[in-house]
């Protein structure tokens, strides 16, 4: 399960002729997983966040909780080794760690709403510097994909989001105000993008860390709200 970890001190920016794209999806997940503290109960959303459960976080032990009531799951299993009765919130066939337990859906969300989840890591379309985020409905869409996100956002002790720093057209996803319908308001404490780690602090985002090769200027140019240097 050991993977190379990114993060650490930012390296010198690469030449402008070859613009740096920063962290990969797995690197974002790995970087966020480094934030998990020993003993935490962690819920991972569908998409990039589920990659966190494959990350080696050294001697720290965390308990991965999934909305479907699986408490204490481990890495995703390769084809052929799956237990078809065992999936995480993303429907992936995962393993169980020693000490795992199972509850039904109502008890699983009892755990979520009552503040027993130390952190939830969710995907997002947008996050605002006030800590609002949007991840359930696209502009103009009739349907939505709420899943457990609104419960997690309202109930978890900390909400981290992982998202690409910009949309495909270059428009920022880190903004002053979400344009899309929000999932919850004022709850995000850490946003990880391919460009770095950013903390919503009200008047802007504080830069916790930049991905290797990413300059503060490049990050500022790609962000729709003030970036406050560490």
């Amino acid at each position: 399960m050991s993977r190379p970890l990114s993060g650490g001190p930012a390296q010198a920016p690469t030449p402008a002729s070859a613009p740096a794209t920063g962290w990969s999806r797995q690197q974002m997940a790995d970087r966020v997983a480094q934030e998990f503290q020993d003993g935490w109960v962690v819920n991972l959303g569908i998409g990039i966040p589920t990659l966190c459960s494959n990350t080696d976080i050294g001697g720290r032990e965390v308990t991965y909780h999934a909305e479907n009531g699986v408490i204490g799951y481990g890495p995703v299993l390769p084809p052929g080794e799956e237990d078809l009765h065992l999936v995480n919130a993303g429907g992936q066939n995962v393993s169980l760690r020693p000490g795992a337990s199972i509850v039904h859906h109502a008890d699983s969300f009892a755990i979520i709403r009552s503040g027993r989840i130390d952190v939830t890591v969710l995907g997002a379309y947008e996050v605002s510097c006030r800590g609002d985020f949007a991840n359930w409905k696209l502009a103009g869409a009739k349907g939505g994909t709420i899943g457990g996100a609104m419960d997690l956002a309202a109930g978890a002790r900390r909400v981290f989001v992982i998202l690409e720093h910009t949309q495909r057209n270059g428009a920022p996803r880190l903004v002053r105000d979400c344009a899309l319908p929000v999932t919850a308001r004022g709850v995000v404490t850490l946003a990880c993008t391919n460009l770095g780690l950013f903390e919503p602090v009200g008047e802007g985002f504080r830069v916790r860390e930049l991905a290797p090769g990413i300059s503060l200027e490049a990050a500022r140019a790609a962000t729709g709200a003030p970036l406050l240097a560490g």
């Binding site: 009531g69 999936v87 709420i146 109930g155």
Partner: protein, 246 residues
């Protein structure tokens, strides 16, 4: 607490009397617990004007297994109540979307924990409760909220259903059920919220008294009909699902 004829010989028989207009809850979360065989039987039975309560209408995975969206395609559904009415990934399109966007079926989008708690409330004789979920969002617009100990909560109502279709691992003839791992999910709370619960069961149904009372996840009083899932290919079993290519 004898069998009382809870064990039926076929899925067709188990759903034969499903009335038009029924409110039906479908167990399952991403595969485990999904009553594939009962859904297939319901497609053949043909009851119309159904309201379907489920976590999703079915995903964008392959191979496709019987799902709520097939009932929609079969023109049996008036409305779905789900926590997903679009695909997980914006780039995917799920079968349900075309019918929903064409206005051929209604949908009520409910946060997953609220969906679970509304079902649990129905099974617990609690008509309404307050939850922090969805406060400040589009879903709360125009709805009743209440400040309790300084925090704002949304009023939610119980969600009783007529029928629950679920899948279990083990059973005894009295209807006591045991689920395996992630198979449990919505199944027990849907059964508790239902007037009639029909379970498809993976292992041979045991004589009354064969299960340890401390290991039973759903007491038999909540289960009225059971059908053993036959081996494949006659019976449908969970298969490994792969993400549909983008």
């Amino acid at each position: 607490m004898a069998g009382r004829g809870k064990i039926l010989g076929s899925f067709a028989e188990a759903v034969a009397d499903m009335p038009d207009g029924a409110v039906i809850a479908f167990g399952g979360f991403a595969g485990p617990g999904t009553p594939y065989n009962l859904i297939r039987a319901l497609l053949a039975q043909g009851a119309k004007d159904l309201t379907c309560v489920a976590n999703t209408t079915g995903g964008a995975h392959q191979p496709r297994m019987p799902d709520v969206a097939m009932l929609v395609e079969n023109r049996q559904v008036r409305k779905v109540i789900c926590s997903f009415t679009a695909a997980n990934r914006p780039t995917d399109v799920i079968p349900f979307t075309r019918y929903y966007e064409a206005g051929e079926v209604e949908a009520e989008l409910v946060p997953q924990g609220t969906l679970a708690e509304r079902l649990r409330a129905a099974g617990a004789g609690i008509p309404a409760f307050y939850t922090p979920t969805a406060v400040g969002t589009e879903l709360a617009e125009g709805r009743e909220t209440r400040v309790i100990n300084g925090r704002e909560y949304l009023l939610e109502y119980a969600l009783p259903v007529d029928v629950a279709l679920i899948r279990a691992w083990k059973a005894d003839a009295a209807g006591n059920l045991v689920f395996r791992l992630a198979q449990r999910n919505f199944c027990p709370i849907m059964a508790m919220a239902a007037k009639l619960t029909i379970a498809e069961v993976e292992e041979e149904i045991l004589p009354v008294g064969a299960l340890d009372p401390d290991h039973i996840h759903l007491p038999g009083m909540f289960v009225q009909r059971m059908v053993k899932v036959p081996p494949p290919p006659e019976g449908l079993w969970t298969v490994r699902r792969v993400e549909r290519a983008r």
